[in-house]
Symmetry: C4
């Protein structure tokens, strides 16, 4: 609802030069477009959730506490990836509390984009798991949409199922129909920044995963670029919702 | 579907000068945009629900019985806040029956914006509560989205959790993950205006609340400005819907 | 997806003059806009459902078997209200099978607009009722949204609750919160045109109703004009959906 | 989100001449528009699903692994229908894994358009059926929307119910309200291309069907042209969703 006027491109040394561009795929523009999309999905309701994109040596992050569907490029925070210093800090905003978690995905998984949602389907699967023997991992098999999830390496968005082995013993490519998708679940904390340790622990313990569920909170999903992060986030949300419907029908998530 | 033509700005002494502006954030424009959004959510279906914005010394209110998603700035009623007199009364419309309830939020809670929805999720949680020991209050804890709700003071839309104590003993800032959100429920009446007494009573009895549920009717939510009212309304609707889903799964709302 | 070019306004004696206008509220334009809206609601999926508007001496009806969200003004059929003769019959289309049913609403209830939807919520309530003692009527009370439904006379879209008595013993105005809304249910037939007799019978038997549910099919809703028909259709669909959710929760529709 | 600039129409001998047109109903444009629509329905989430249109001697197919709602005409693959050779293969993309399945619909059923969705409702009905005596076919009767489905011949999108008999013994026209709709279900395979054999088998075994469900995967739906394929896909998805709701309510799908 805020009016959007694009000022002329500023001096290249100004922090604003980091966020103003006519290219819709510039991260400052792209984050805004993604958030409008995610708002319609119910993923970033009431200022929750967020997106971060690594772009060359810089990391772009949406601020905390803003209406995600109304964001403008000038709302973005920009960090230097190596030093962690802020190159741009809008005075009117607070940095996203998700920042350390986005950085964890970038540094430990060579991600290019990380998405955090408060999807109700993500929250509900963590609640269903909470009262089972499989409290700390969401598992599902033999649903075609699983093939939309990569094995955490540099898999593509296609459904190729290569046998190549990458570092850490991970296979390349995406999951196959007869594979079992496993997404770790960590417990929520009072403050979002305090999730960093357990998120990094889950990433180490589950080298194939491209996401971590947070109990009663939502999910973090990453990918090598925006397309992979977004499409994996969509596929996971589809699977979380389907899992809730399957649970209501009394159908098990992992087919024997 | 009605065509929208903005006439030139009228004489400053004309009541129309109160509602015609090229600024999308002018309350007359803002209410229209909010209602289009709320219609898509199913909150203002079939002419139900409404929005009011306090703007300086004036209060802007959407009329009764109009299709909310088709409203134009010239449909707005405008009241003088102090005297309560109408500065603008469109002849073709009736004042909103919610008016006394909006005014209650403005006067007792220093609100800047009040939203009334007929959300089905709000109605359903009041029905679930109706047959329990907790008939008159909706309580939920340990869901991250709770952090989107302020403590009824001048909390911001961020997730800060200050320890500052305000008048009336209320803490500043927003609720924390381990807090329990409590929203009072009042019984519906034959006529909406008659809710005023019980709504004011609920506000006095629950000084931290930013909303009041009305059994079998919907919810009133307020905030210090539009952003806070809207984002809190979104967070509450998220929580109402999640609560219905949790109830179906047999998961309690307040974690022991 | 079909391209839309408005040819210049034709000769006043041409049938095309009946459907071409720059006024968005002209029935030929209005029906198209309404159908785009209804398609998003899931009411006119897969060519099902329809809309008809009485405009002066003419009746405008959307054709059968077209994608409702893609309709153009030139797709409309136009009938003379008194004689029943077609003033305009697009050669590429078939008249709507709903036509006799729309005409029944216009002639027996002085309606100005009639809407037919295949809403799943309407179908589901008829299925729930099918196996109860209340097979032939859907009843619900003490839900605020009931106040959006008129008493079948020339009630307005407001929530006024007049005590005026109209012909046939009907009270004027809209239903009150403590009233019980009753919508008759008729059985479906092999051909839509064959519903006319039972629809007219239901209208005679239920003089207050503004709608008739058709088992395993959908609903017909009318009003004195488009605004009343549309808002009542929205309120009824809200109540049908809420009723299904209440049924799942074990909450009765009529409060004792 | 990618910007869309239409280059000038290329040399008629260039493969690009096959996909660039100002006509919104040109298959390369039409597929993009359909996919934006299907993305909103949740049918082509996370790069799943697809569409193919037969246009004269050519077959247009959306590529594999792309975000369907962002597709551009230049993303399309084009095959010669008779020889099966590619006339246009975008270097950046992989051919759709659905290609052999689309070709099966075109060759065995004289289809003009084939749609593949990962609709959750399709997946859920195959799961409900999996544990019943009716494992390999989804059946439903006496729901009005059934009349939106043709008998697999060259039925129209209207609800005509002709008694004409076509080759293979199939009746012309659409199903009637008292008919039973039956959609065969085949088991999913590790690779989508391997479904061809069982899909062709199902088409032979069920000459009236216009669709085949794939367990835990989705559905393939075809029609003589885009309008029929799309409207039948919508009607089927409506019926799949309704069937899941009916199952939850304990209402049988085939009325005795």
């Amino acid at each position: 609802m805020a009016s959007s006027t694009s000022p002329p491109l500023p001096n290249a040394n100004s922090p604003d030069s980091l966020v103003l561009s006519s290219d819709p795929l510039h991260p400052a523009n792209h984050i805004c477009a993604l958030c409008r999309n995610f708002y319609d999905f119910g993923w970033v309701t009431g200022t929750g959730g967020g997106v971060s994109i690594k772009h060359g040596d810089n990391v772009y992050i949406a601020p905390s506490g803003v209406q995600k569907e109304l964001m403008q490029p000038t709302d973005m925070f920009v960090k230097d990836y190596e030093s962690g210093e802020y190159l741009r800090r809008p005075a009117a905003h607070k940095p996203s509390a998700c920042t350390p978690l986005f950085m964890a995905a970038f540094t430990t998984r060579s991600a290019g984009c990380c998405i955090h949602t408060h999807s109700q389907w993500a929250v509900l699967v963590t609640l269903i798991c909470e009262s089972t023997n499989s409290k700390d991992v969401f598992s599902i098999s033999q649903i075609e949409q699983i093939k939309g999830i990569s094995r955490g390496g540099h898999g593509s968005t296609s459904t190729s199922n290569s046998n190549e082995i990458l570092e850490g013993g991970r296979k390349a490519g995406n999951l196959g129909f007869f594979d079992t998708l496993k997404i770790p679940i960590i417990e929520n904390t009072a403050h979002e920044e305090d999730l960093r340790e357990s998120l990094e622990g889950a990433i180490r313990e589950w080298p194939e995963t491209t996401a971590v569920l947070v109990r009663r909170h939502g999910v973090y999903v990453w990918g090598k670029d925006v397309a992979q992060a977004k499409t994996q986030c969509e596929s996971l949300d589809y699977l979380f919702r389907l899992a809730v419907e399957m649970h209501r029908l009394g159908v098990g998530w992992v087919k024997e």
